[in-house]
Amino acid sequence: MSTQFKILIGIIFTLLTCVPLATIAVNDLGRDLGLLAPDEISGMERRAAALKGREIEVGADLYGQYCYGCHGKHGEGIPGVAPAINRKDLLDGRREKAIGWSGSVDAFLRNTIAAGRPVSSRPDLYAAKMPTWGNQYGGPMRPDQVDALVSFVLNWQAGALEVDAWSPPAAAVAAGPAPTRAPGTAPTPGAPGAFTQCVNIPAPYVGKKPAYRFDDKAILAAGKTIYDDKCAACHGANGRGDGPAAAALNPKPANLADKSFMQGLPVDCHFYLVSEGVKGSAMPPWKALGEDALWKVLIYERSFSGVQ
């Protein structure tokens, strides 16, 4: 091969190399170079969208593992447990504005999810507490997982529900039936037999009895663990209805240490109320904990008054 022929071939291939390079340039910089109509998208934008889409898929998967138990399958919330997060005001910034958050919506979500809310904002509305998820605060999730959840939650934006998850206590009554606080006959704690709900308890609950003895130490210990975790915030460590969260509640939580009150609350009705929640109050349904756990809590609760 002559020198010039090799140089010619070299030049030809160098020029040919410009073809793929130009293709990439158009793909990646099409927008910047003004080669695209407004409704066209460039290769790079398509890639960004694909990665965003995959991130949302990851978020959906995490949501299905960690969040739906409190916030509902589609983020619609569970009355009395946790607020809806598939919510217009949360995703369009009204909620953030209302509480004086000056950052962006996604920063609000990221911080809320990562840090959780160790102190409940409204124990009267929601019995659960938003757990801490980010591993920088001791939670189980890496930052990229929190990011994925934020992308997933934000993807509700288009069809978000217009629900009032944080209605102020007074307004809630005025506004009529809110999802969490249907008006009902509020029981007067302390008065025996005051529970109108005990008059007609549903058939499956009638006559239900625990499988455990009321003085079984192990059961009492197990019950205490659950009680301290789930109930003490409102009902107080000793069942007097004076937990830290009780101040904000109306009606107030029952005083479980009150003998005469407890005598008006038969075991089956007690179990029914714990399972299904008390209508017209902040007491949520706890069915999800499972019968066995509920019996243990119930036995522990009844140990405050000694009424069996």
Binding site: T17, A49, A50, R54, I56, A158
Partner: protein, 601 residues
């Protein structure tokens, strides 16, 4: 420049020569012929400066000679300035003044050594640019990969080239070694060149493997986790295993420390070693010994053939232009391939709590994984133990032997190839020969090793010898957790048929697989997929009908697609069967979400 004195200056003798010549130049400007003289002088001076510059840069060749070089003309000056370059220029020291003609035949080297060096330089250049965007930090590394792909112009392309180059480099270096072995070029006097070559092979594998971790996705994390887990068993385990695991991973598992170590190894330690050893290797090959001649010509009985083979082919310009041409062609091929038909994979973010179903080593280490699964040696040793009473199993059946000691021995053997070869010839008292017909044993061993390498690599793939429970395998086939990388480099990955159908191809509904046993001729793609799934499920039901343990009794499948969010669908594959063993739940469920944009091809 400073010697003209036609116009004596006023204070002539006292003035410095420089000012005198400036003075006379100014004088010249006044007359026409003066200007002509001045023009000629400046042209000459300018040429002189340019020529000097070119001479300095080319280490000896003037402009006229460089021009002649690229036109293919004979050198202009005497003595031939093209040779001067090789004594004066720093970089030319690792290039030869000439090669012997026959050693440059394409079918002798296939340009593989050259291509090895070229891929290394491509990696170095693209790698340097990628370093600008990459963050070696465990919480941000993956995010920086996403940014490179989605936000950096030419970012994905650079990544693709870097990946193609890396796979190619391993492949080409290996093939280069095979070529050197087959042509017998490692023999005297090139024995130590072979040794530097084996060092380069190890560096190349190290470069590729350390780079594998950096994307910090599941693929990276688990491939490196199983690789480094072998280091843990280096004997004695309590000392060497512990120390090497600690040094590699920077802790018990790979985390921030491990990532940083691999990163620094990948961008500093190994590239520096590679540059040093490539320089030494190149020096030895092209300066010290020259490339070997084809054996048939070197050992030809005909002196004319031997003489002709040794005819000189000057580096300047023949070899230089040839190399430049090959660079242009190879770069075109790599760039075109990366641009149009290859994307470097990026799986989900690494997750230490989520082990993928089938983790594999990178393809070039599959043979080690294959040795750990080996189907022969162990059964034979077990036989020996059970029937003869010689218990070698306890020694052999350990990751230390199979994952560390055997591979180390193999590499030691590789280092020793030229010396063992020499010993063998001396032992039998015959002259060393590179001709194939005189190397029957050597070539047989070579081909047998190649065959074993491929065979054990196959054993290393998930195709061989591992299988999860049948329902899990069905889920993996259609909806793999991650897109599955084939065991052969540079082929596209397989994301499973469900993802390939994509958002649009998955209309919401609950599909009972039984009803889709046979598709109509013009069935929709989803229908065909359901039929295929039903086929797998029915196969398991059939197996169960014939055996008490295999298969899934009365297996039934359901495929559910739900609209989940805007542009997001939830896809569930559920398989139920009659449990026959305690602990068998009789149900399997695999859930995957598919977004409209997520574009898995």
């Amino acid at each position: 420049m400073f010697e003209r004195k036609e116009h004596p200056a006023p204070f002539s003798d006292k003035m410095p020569v420089g000012l005198q010549s400036l003075w006379s130049a100014l004088h010249d400007l006044r007359t026409k012929e003066g200007r002509a003289r001045l023009g000629k002088a400046t042209r000459a001076t300018g040429w002189q400066v340019a020529d000097d510059t070119v001479r300095a840069v080319s280490a000896g060749m003037g402009i006229a000679d460089v021009r002649a070089l690229f036109r293919g003309d004979p050198p202009v000056e005497k003595p031939n300035p093209r040779y001067k370059v090789f004594t004066n220029a720093f970089f030319a020291h690792i290039r030869p003044r000439y090669y012997e003609k026959s050693s440059t035949k394409f079918t002798h080297t296939f340009g593989l050594g050259f291509l090895s060096a070229l891929t290394f330089f491509i990696e170095a250049i693209t790698g340097l640019i990628l370093m600008v965007f990459y963050i070696p930090e465990q919480d941000r590394a993956y995010q920086s990969m996403v940014k490179i792909i989605a936000e950096v112009p030419f970012g994905q392309f650079l990544r693709d080239i870097h990946r193609v180059g890396a796979e190619l480099m391993v492949l080409v270096v290996f093939l280069h070694m095979v070529r050197v072995y087959l042509t017998g070029s490692f023999k005297h006097p090139r024995q130590f060149t072979w040794v530097t070559g084996v060092i380069l092979l190890i560096i190349t594998l190290g470069l590729s493997y350390s780079g594998y971790l950096l994307p910090w996705d599941q693929l990276a994390y688990w491939a490196v986790t199983i690789g480094t887990s072998m280091a843990k068993s280096a004997p004695p385990k309590e000392i060497m295993g512990y120390i090497s695991n600690l040094m590699l991973r920077g802790g018990d598992t790979i985390g921030q420390n491990g990532l940083l170590r691999f990163y620094l190894g990948h961008v500093i330690l190994l590239p520096v070693l590679a540059m040093i050893f490539i320089a030494v290797h190149y020096y030895r090959v092209s300066r010290l010994h020259g490339i070997s001649l084809p054996a048939s010509e070197e050992e030809s009985p005909d002196p004319a053939v031997r003489k002709q083979a040794k005819e000189r082919l000057d580096y300047l310009p023949e070899i230089l232009t040839k190399e430049l041409m090959w660079i242009a062609i190879a770069v075109f091929a790599i760039v075109g391939f990366a641009a149009f038909s290859f994307h470097a994979p990026l799986e989900h973010h690494s997750d230490p709590y989520r082990t993928p179903l089938h983790t594999t080593a990178p393809w070039y280490f599959l043979w080690i994984q294959g040795m750990l699964k080996d189907p022969w040696v162990l059964p034979i040793l077990r036989g020996l133990r059970d029937f003869v009473g010689i218990d070698l199993v306890q020694f052999y059946d350990s990751p230390a032997i199979q994952g560390i000691i055997l591979p180390t021995l193999i590499f030691l053997l590789l280092f020793g190839v030229p010396y063992l070869d020499e010993f063998w010839d001396k032992f039998w008292g015959r002259p060393s020969s590179r001709m194939g017909k005189n190397r029957k044993l050597g070539l047989t061993i070579g081909f047998a090793s190649l065959f074993l390498l491929i065979l054990f690599s196959y054993f290393g793939t998930p195709l061989f010898g591992v299988s999860a429970p049948p329902a899990v395998e069905i889920g993996q086939e259609f909806i793999p957790e991650e897109c599955v990388l084939p065991p052969i480099p540079l082929l596209p990955d397989n994301c499973g048929e469900v993802r390939r159908l994509g958002y649009e191809g998955l209309p919401a509904g609950t599909y009972e697989l039984e009803k889709y046993a046979a598709p109509p001729p013009d069935a929709a793609p989803l229908h065909n997929l359901l039929t295929k799934m039903q086929g797998r499920v029915a196969e398991q039901a059939e197996r169960a009908a014939q055996s008490d343990v295999a298969g899934l009794a009365d297996a039934k499948g359901f495929f559910v697609i739900e609209d989940w969010q805007s542009d997001l669908k939830k896809v569930t594959l559920r398989i139920t069967w009659t449990p026959r063993a305690p602990g068998d739940t009789g149900a399997f469920e695999k859930i995957v979400y598919v977004h409209r944009d997520s574009a898995y091809e």
